[in-house]
Subunit: 123 residues, 2 copies
């Protein structure tokens, strides 16, 4: 039987930004942890909704049309499939993500630093 996953302990295992690590799977979804700092890229996932839950820090999600949400520790937001978003973390931010196993890191956008599905790492 698997042991519980302690998020704080898992976050100690890596330092890189924008490289989600897989910590669990259920119902064809992955639970991932990521450290974010700075700006990412505009992207969307054509068929997959994506959940952001803030474990530490603060994350801004920009959307087209000058819209944005600010997510603080203990807050979550679901970005629906097809909605372009641009994450910005002014300070280091720790997030838990949930998305289908098939989800590409940067969706349909090819970007430096994007991670192919098969390269995503379990920790």
């Amino acid at each position: 039987m698997k042991l519980p996953v302690n998020l704080a302990d898992k976050f100690k295992l890596f330092d890189e930004y924008w490289t989600p690590k897989i910590v669990g799977e259920l119902n064809d979804q992955y639970i991932k942890l990521a450290k974010l700092k700075g700006e990412f890229v505009w992207h969307s996932h054509d068929h997959e909704d994506e959940l952001f839950y803030i474990v530490k820090g603060q994350l801004k999600l920009k959307f087209r049309g000058n819209k944005e949400v600010i997510l603080k520790e203990g807050e979550m937001h679901i970005v629906p499939a097809g909605v372009e978003h641009f994450p910005v973390a002014e300070q280091e931010c720790w997030v838990m993500l949930m998305e289908p196993k098939s989800t590409l890191h940067t969706g349909s956008t090819k970007a430096e630093g994007s991670v192919a599905v098969d390269d995503q790492e379990w920790i």
Copy 2:
């Protein structure tokens, strides 16, 4: 555009134990919040994995064969489909759950206090 969901604020909206409230949906999964205290019932979900993430307090999950895991704040555990489990919260415990929209509260067990899928409430 929806506002972020602040878990602490959502937990202020209800006091009942063992009655999960829906706070989000993505990819045919629901994100639910529940307050737990005392013992629930032995049950399993035939086809659905279920994630428990502890927002506050501590939860024991007992399994058949005298196995158990203790989940503390900031820890998560995924109970695979078909695995019987028996949740026990000696003190009040706040959890975030993730499971398919189709999941019945007590799985294939009929229990007093079990909630039909259609009766589950958004908050």
